[in-house]
């Protein structure tokens, strides 16, 4: 549940519209009418159920019709992203589960391409998603927290080595310079 973003649930509004006839449609065609409905899933964290009811203009439900669910997205221009395909049952109903990728406004488009003697139908429905899938997370390299501290340890070692070298050089130079003024001269020194 923590991975899910949840706000208050809002009820889905139903907007239905009929698709206009295609140019080549003949007179014996039945118009198809689609109605989209968006409901919360039974388990809230599962997101939503997108449902469509498909019937002909004569009022009869259209069964075994293939419908496609899309979501309008903006990626390199406006595009319709395919969510899933479903087939209507005897009552002309089809539904799919849907967990949006992000919160906020979503426009769902359901398309029925039409079939023999039945014209195509499109229905759109906008809803405000309050439940969404866990957002994408950049992979964290393993041991990242530990590794971040290693340079400090190494840095201390490097600095102490530098200190030792400096001490060896300058300490010796200083020692030799001062020692040269020393009274205690070793034997064999002719000075």
């Amino acid at each position: 549940m923590t991975a899910l973003r949840r706000i208050l649930a809002t009820a889905g509004l139903v907007i239905a519209m009929a698709a206009p006839f295609g140019g080549a449609a003949s007179a014996d065609h039945v118009r198809a009418i689609a109605e989209v409905k968006v409901d919360h899933a039974e388990k809230l964290e599962k997101g939503y159920v997108l449902a469509v009811k498909l019937r002909g203009s004569d009022g009869k439900p259209l069964n075994t019709a293939t419908v496609r669910f899309y979501q309008t997205v903006e990626i390199f221009g406006p595009r319709e992203m395919l969510i899933a395909t479903a087939v209507t049952d005897g009552q002309g109903n089809a539904s799919i589960p849907y967990l949006p990728a992000r919160l906020g406004q979503h426009e769902i488009v359901v398309r029925f391409p039409g079939r023999d003697h039945v014209g195509a139908a499109v229905a759109k429905h906008t809803f405000d998603a309050t439940v969404a899938a866990a957002p994408h997370r950049q992979a964290v390299p393993p041991l990242a927290a530990f590794s971040a501290n290693v340079p400090y340890g190494v840095g201390v070692v490097v600095l102490s080595v530098w200190g030792l070298i400096a001490f060896a050089l300058f300490g010796t130079v200083r020692g030799v310079l001062q020692g040269g003024r020393d009274r205690a001269i070793r034997k064999g020194d002719t000075a």
Binding site: I75, R79, A84, P135
Partner: protein, 204 residues
């Protein structure tokens, strides 16, 4: 911080308006090995012929057949090439694309090239998912050029991918087609996914 890319002729990166995390899907079932993607890439980035930022390999499969495998930069989330860069010339932008600052920082040590990556030009250049194009709302050159529509550019935030024509829900598309990432066991977290056909065993 705006960064200039020489390959894109002085294009200056503006802060992107929308949070994207780019990824790519390559459908090997569709690729016919025409190398239009490579050519388009070379034209886009003014590269000489020997520079293949997206390289098409011809692979023999276990059935004795062959197939083609285009390989762009994988834009790994845990990119080893990025880690080894001594000057920070290699960096990841806000949209998850691994880029090389050739203008100021790259010293051409080629440490990054010890990892599965890019190529020389005094400095090192590599596939950049055409960030200069995606910023302008244009498809990457290779995706646009692919006549087979085998290349998809996608966004992990919106969970969407498109090949310019067809637009799919990225996670569903990957799952339903058993997509995999090349050498995923290396743990680098590539952002390029492959969809294999029958008998295509990539790991040999």
């Amino acid at each position: 911080m705006p960064i200039a890319f020489p390959a894109a002729e002085g294009h200056v990166r503006a802060a992107p308006g929308k949070a994207r995390q780019w990824a790519m899907v390559i459908d090997l079932r569709k690729c016919d090995g025409c190398k239009e993607c490579t050519l388009a890439c070379q034209t886009e980035h003014a590269l000489p012929k020997s520079f293949e930022w997206i390289k098409v390999f011809e692979v023999k499969d276990s059935q004795g057949g062959k197939y083609f495998m285009p390989r762009p930069c994988f834009q790994c989330e845990n990119a080893p090439c990025l880690r080894v860069c001594p000057t920070g010339a290699t960096f990841r932008d806000e949209e998850g694309v691994v880029l090389v600052d050739q203008v100021d920082k790259c010293i051409g040590c080629r440490m990054c090239m010890e990892h599965p990556v890019p190529q020389i030009k005094g400095t090192v250049g590599k596939c950049m998912f055409c960030v200069h194009r995606t910023d302008d709302g244009k498809l990457p050159a290779c995706v646009e050029a692919c006549a087979m529509e085998a290349l998809y550019i996608g966004d992990l935030v919106e969970d969407v991918a498109t090949n310019g024509n067809e637009t799919v829900r990225l996670s569903t598309f990957l799952k339903e087609n058993d997509a995999f990432r090349y050498k995923e066991d290396l743990g680098t977290g590539p952002r390029v996914y492959y969809i294999a056909g029958h008998g295509q065993l990539l790991d040999n």
